[in-house]
Amino acid sequence: MPILVTQLDGGVTRVILSERLDAAGAVETSMEMYYVGESSDAVIVDMARVTFIASLGLRNLVSLAKAVIKKKGKIVLLSPTPAVEEVLITSGLDMLMPIYRDQPSAVIAVTP
């Protein structure tokens, strides 16, 4: 399963995505990401293990971000690989979910 959800101190939810977020990976992760969006308002999406992302995977991220932001919560991306980061920036997702390079900075960014 290319998604793992863990809880960090301070009520921060860390979503660890991995492998390919292509059409199949997007379907596989969408329900879990929906639950995170419904239940969490401080979210770090760890992208370090994601090797590929295209538009269906991006749409899952957009939906998650919108759900969190709608609740006045905060959500950031953590450590995407260069190839994935290029797609994230091209699609403008970094404007919705800022990119951080290390977890302590990401935690500070989403902590109220």
Binding site: A23, S55, A83
Partner: protein
């Protein structure tokens, strides 16, 4: 003319997984950034056909052909669905705020290809995606 490969799949989301293994096998040892460009662009095009080209009750197909030349990789995607020209279609908002399928995909498609060419002939959509090998 360089090496060529062809794939024909059903125009359904569950068929799209076959793209990746086919493309990886066909493009061989091209640089990783170029492989990523080709994967992102091809998934966008084929998913668009799968979601929008055919009526829900219609069993459509999509045909993909790859040609590798020393300086260029070319993917040609053909379907018999409704006419759609991604070359002239307005792109979506590049701020991650796109709601409608297709718009965000067009932004990605145009970014990851060197050139896009569209032709509608004899009831078929024919989209040519060109990727520069030497720039990657």
């Amino acid at each position: 003319m360089g090496a060529t490969a062809q794939l024909r799949i059903g125009a359904r989301p569950d068929e799209v997984a076959r793209l990746y293994t086919w493309l990886d096998g066909a493009i061989g040892e091209l640089p990783a950034p170029l492989r990523n460009d080709m994967h992102v662009a091809l998934e966008e095009v084929v998913m668009n056909v799968a979601f929008h080209a055919y009526a829900p009750e219609q069993e459509g197909e999509v045909a993909i052909a790859l040609t590798l030349a020393p300086e260029e990789a070319v993917l040609v995607v053909e379907d018999e669905g409704q006419e759609f020209n991604p070359v002239s279609a307005p792109p979506g908002k590049p701020e991650g705020r796109q709601e409608e399928p297709g718009g965000l995909g067009l932004v990605l498609l145009r970014h990851h290809c060197r050139a896009l060419e569209y032709e509608r002939r004899a009831g078929r959509n024919r989209l040519t995606l060109r990727f520069a090998i030497q720039n990657r």
